[in-house]
Symmetry: C2
């Protein structure tokens, strides 16, 4: 079985440390990928530290994976050795439920198999992209264009699709006034996509220092959420709000910025439930909804869209040995806008 170098946590309290393990030999339908870059998602920290409960250790995080195909199973038809390939947040699903049949495997009735911190159908744990190699069924592998700067493509596999999917599902485009709440790994992709789709984009952030960045990323307006007068002036102004923040926050503050029939979609998961005042919803027939990454088909569509429109994530490339420092900086919001591990540093 192929030997793999990686970084893992052994328990919720310990830092990430080098970890050697084996991957399965590629089966008939498997694609073996030498990983080149892996993005670092905030959910890696949540799961490494067992903040959502149920974590499986040792854990090799990482679900924003880009690499090259090094081997394919006998029955693989979609990938050839040498091609660029991507792996996102899941590597399998039941394939038979209504969600799977509708190409929405992320909503699989029996639960998708996470790229890490999950279990394959045979019960073996899945290990993610903080590692030199991965083996995945071809149905769950994405095609990646050679045109883009690939370290910037890695975060598209989670941060990209997480923001692309709701903007598409709610048909956001020209004529819509959109607010993106939070300018981090998810938020900066939300700005790029919403602007690319033709919407009028406002970034709402707690940090005034992000204003110039927001405009550079394609936003048309910027507001600091602690500026009560400014926030009051924005009441009822947005058709759609994409909230990307995982910190505890008051949903009502944002719901009141929606116009008649407006929708706020949350893609971040605050640690505690947030209170919703029924009047905030009823007063203008507003909605609050959630959205979870995207299916394989839509993720491919998103990657193709990015290749056609030259969209990548803004990244800071790090060595694997710097991952613990990177986690600390992420917790302080000190990254513009995604850390990506150069997996060559693991070889």
């Amino acid at each position: 079985m192929p030997a793999v170098n990686g970084y893992a946590v052994q328990d919720p309290a310990s830092p990430l440390a080098p970890f050697n393990f084996e991957r399965r030999e590629p089966g008939a339908l498997d694609v073996q990928i030498d990983i080149m870059y892996c993005g670092v998602c905030h959910s890696d920290i949540h799961q490494a530290r067992n903040e959502w409960g149920g974590s499986i250790y040792p854990m090799v995080p990482g679900h924003e994976i880009i690499g090259r195909v090094t081997k394919v199973g006998a029955e693989v038809t979609a990938f050839k050795i040498g091609e660029l390939a991507g792996v996102g947040c899941f590597v399998d699903s039941c394939r038979t439920c209504a969600s799977c049949l509708a190409n929405e495997e992320q909503y699989c009735d029996t639960g998708m198999v996470g790229t890490y911190n999950g279990r394959e159908k045979d019960g073996s744990p899945t290990y993610g992209g903080y590692s030199t190699q991965i083996v995945v069924d071809e149905k769950y592998v994405l095609h990646v264009s050679e045109k883009l700067q690939i370290e910037g493509v890695a975060p598209l596999l989670c941060a990209g699709i997480t923001t692309y999917s709701p903007l598409r599902h709610w048909n956001i485009g020209k004529g819509h006034k959109v607010a993106i709440v939070g300018l981090g790994g998810l938020g900066h992709m939300g700005v790029k996509f919403a602007a690319s789709f033709g919407a009028d984009v406002t970034v709402l952030s707690t940090s005034k220092t992000k204003e110039q960045d927001a405009l550079n990323l394609g936003a048309h307006h910027f507001a600091v959420t602690t500026d009560a007068a400014k926030m009051k002036s924005l009441a009822g102004k947005f058709d759609f709000i994409l909230s990307t923040i995982s910190a505890q926050h008051d949903y009502n503050q944002y719901l009141n910025l929606l116009s008649l029939n407006g929708t706020m979609v949350v893609v971040g998961v605050p640690p505690q439930p947030s209170a919703v005042q029924a009047f905030s919803l009823i007063g203008k027939r507003r909605s609050i909804a959630g959205s979870l990454i995207g299916g394989i088909k839509e993720t491919q569509e998103m990657l193709d869209y990015c290749a056609a429109h030259n969209i990548v994530s803004d990244v800071e490339v790090i060595k694997a040995a710097d991952i613990n420092k990177a986690y600390e900086r992420m917790l302080k919001g000190d990254v513009r806008y995604r850390f990506v591990i150069d997996i060559a540093s693991l070889r």
Copy 2:
């Protein structure tokens, strides 16, 4: 000015008592209506007791009004003396904002003028339907068919449109699995409309004693919300949930009953905000939305639909002098399903 007999509260703590006042002489565009029946809505209690704040006293509640036209202004074209007419929750709005222009006056940017506990544009207080007569601009008056039992039509003006409007807005009909939460004044109308539109309807109620009523009203299934095993078996089963309850309740318990892309619409306003767990929304791309009564155009459409399909509210007709007793019974849920005041008892 026409002298009117009514029932009013003078402050949040006192019971309703007889109150005589004057209405304006009908202006050029006004319709004067002799009230025959007025429904008793739970929001009458909330406002009489100042539970939402800002109540104006003396207050004559009542916004489910049916009567006959007794006088029309010189420029009135839509109504003739002797016709049946209805008045719902509002009697004016700004008429110029986007919502008003879209026939959604209930979402008027500057606020609709409530039928009671509101202020006309000249600042004078509005008095509602617990009274012998009302004068309203013809644009805010509804046509009522002679075909239906009119005491059962009165509650359509609030309980009816409050449930009809969201079912229509979210295009509920054949092939949809719908849950109606709570079987009171609103809920029993929700069941009638959802069933009439062709949906498969389940009533979720805290009270097992309402099962037979639910089925008689047109529901296909019934579940007691305190039956944990039953509720678990309903997880992910509904496309649409209409929550009609104003008591404090856990939104997540109901959100988890929604299928992929399902929507829960709340039309009741619990006294405190309710906590929403982001995972409840994200896990199946669910939405929670609010809806507020309906515009004049849609209210007329609803009344016409009811006349065509022989739909009325199930009511218990009371004398005006029994109104305080009725409030007490409503607070105990002891009414099937709407009290309606016979205004003849006030003459």
